[in-house]
Symmetry: C2
Subunit: 152 residues, 2 copies
């Protein structure tokens, strides 16, 4: 497999940009089959569009990948997301048994991996993915900064 | 409003029993409009059926209520659920601005309210519902116990 993690993150960034164009918080996520490098699903936030507070990029991408594979667990998959997952998404990533989690910007205010409840450090968490944070960090962070600056 | 919390919990228990009949972990949830007492949505777990690790009763009920009301936030609503919500569901309950959370059995192994990451005690949690735990507790717990006993 010759694809670099940064190339998948670029696809997540594209999904985040599309979310921004829909008026959603610009976060994007991509689920990749580890063995083949095949992209199974890509999604951006759709909370406002779907009237669904759970419609974060990660959760939508995991759901789409599960439906594609016909199983609710994705132990052979990696997830790329532009922002540190919130506690909801960190938990569903664990439930899905995702193998590796790559995320872009850190989120001290709302993140649940390196901040807040630090979901994977809880003794009640039964699957902790391998984690790489800070991938394409400044590019991912700039997306969010410019989105919120434009809204003020 | 003359309906008692326990009557809504009975509806959540019915949704949990229906989940068990589908081979799902028997958890059920009901979203109620606080002012009118109207039941907006009821759901049981559908993780296996939908190949969706996020398809917990609470998340499905909140999504259905949001779609019914045409908004992703439910500040005028209460949620009844047969089991202490996991960290994923506790977080989406907060995102949805649910007014009051009533739950049945406590879940020391997987709960995220009184156990594990204690989502609502985090400084990064921006909305904490009013919480009543232990409603119809033994009835809700018995549902889970008999489900897992039968599967062994």
């Amino acid at each position: 497999m010759t694809v670099e993690p940064n190339e998948y993150m670029q696809q997540a960034i594209k999904a985040a940009e599309a979310a921004a164009a829909r008026g959603e918080v610009p976060v994007g996520a991509v689920v990749v089959e580890s063995a083949t490098g095949r992209v199974l699903a890509a999604a951006g936030n759709r909370v406002e569009e779907l009237n669904d507070p759970s419609a974060h990029a990660e959760l939508l991408a995991i759901r789409a990948a599960g439906q594609l594979l016909g199983e609710p667990r994705l132990p052979g998959c990696d997830l790329y997301v532009t922002l540190e997952p919130c506690p909801m998404c960190a938990t569903v990533i664990s439930f899905a048994r995702v193998r590796r989690l790559f995320f872009g910007a850190y989120d001290p205010k709302g993140g649940g991996v390196d901040h807040g409840p630090r979901i994977y450090e809880q003794s009640t968490c039964h699957h902790r993915p391998e984690i790489v944070g800070g991938l394409s960090e400044s590019e991912c962070a700039d997306l969010l900064k410019s989105f919120f600056r434009d809204r003020r």
